[in-house]
Symmetry: D3
Subunit: 69 residues, 6 copies
């Protein structure tokens, strides 16, 4: 399985906040930091993930913003 | 400084690959993993970053895809 | 503070429509036109913005679509 | 013509920077501020725009990041 | 009407799932496959679409991920 | 393999246009229509795709714009 995206990290689902159309999934990565994904409830159902599951995080580099503080 | 985005990680610039219009910036995060951002050469110039600089990575959660392998 | 994005405008928050997971924030820019951002309710809480606040609007150029009518 | 996007502004093309695959189009909006779009050279060809042309800028609200400085 | 995007498909709206802030619109394309768009309820109101309507699907190529399974 | 995205189509690579940093991949879907993906040359190398290969197209629904002409 290969993805055309420069950002690929493994993580563990730690929380899922459900709405009527959208939901927000919190994922802990190996550094201990958290990342989050927003998707539709329908996508969540198809993914079939729950707390504790291992997931791959995929982000295309064009959607990554760098900030110099 | 507060950002309306659920993904915020600190990292160190390790590589910059420059094209004529776009460029690709590689950033090492604390877990040792790498993330990348694609931006315009003009944005790179304004950011003024170079190898070794600390940057903040910001990604809106809607642009994060989860995959269950 | 420098952002790796070609679109940066200042504006004033004029309305916030809240849902359970997501919210929609309306911002008036200097031309009198309106722009809007959709984010999670959790991001809104962290941003801590309310009507009348000044915010910076940041959009990466890859996410800007041009149409010739 | 109706678009399913919360951000729609009119502007005038002021500059086009061309690469081999991608290009960067600069657009002046009515406030005098500038916005930019990155697209493929193939899209530019199909759009058929040049300096001085009027274009509509369309951005989905999910791709708009708010920052509180 | 010309769009600065490499992905343009025609389809027919087959379902709209409404939430408080966001909604999810299902569209059948000519191959019989389905595509979906998430937008705000406000955008849906402005679009004024309902089941059976013909719509154009527009996606910028930077937001298309390719996977090799 | 499950993806948290509402748009998933199979297609065949018909053309790859390479630049220094970015490239543009053209894919024919079953209806005979074409879709395109822009990614980095580094992602293309990792994907390892060439003309004639079968790929999965994945797009999050938030990045799909609907237009009513």
């Amino acid at each position: 399985m290969k993805y055309g995206a420069r950002n690929q990290l493994m993580g563990t689902v730690t929380d899922i906040k459900k709405g009527s159309v959208m939901c927000e999934v919190k994922v802990k990565i190996s550094s201990g930091a958290f990342m989050e994904s927003v998707m539709t409830m329908n996508s969540l159902k198809e993914l079939g993930i729950k707390k504790g599951d291992t997931v791959k995080i995929v982000v295309k580099a064009v959607n990554v913003l760098l900030v110099k503080e």
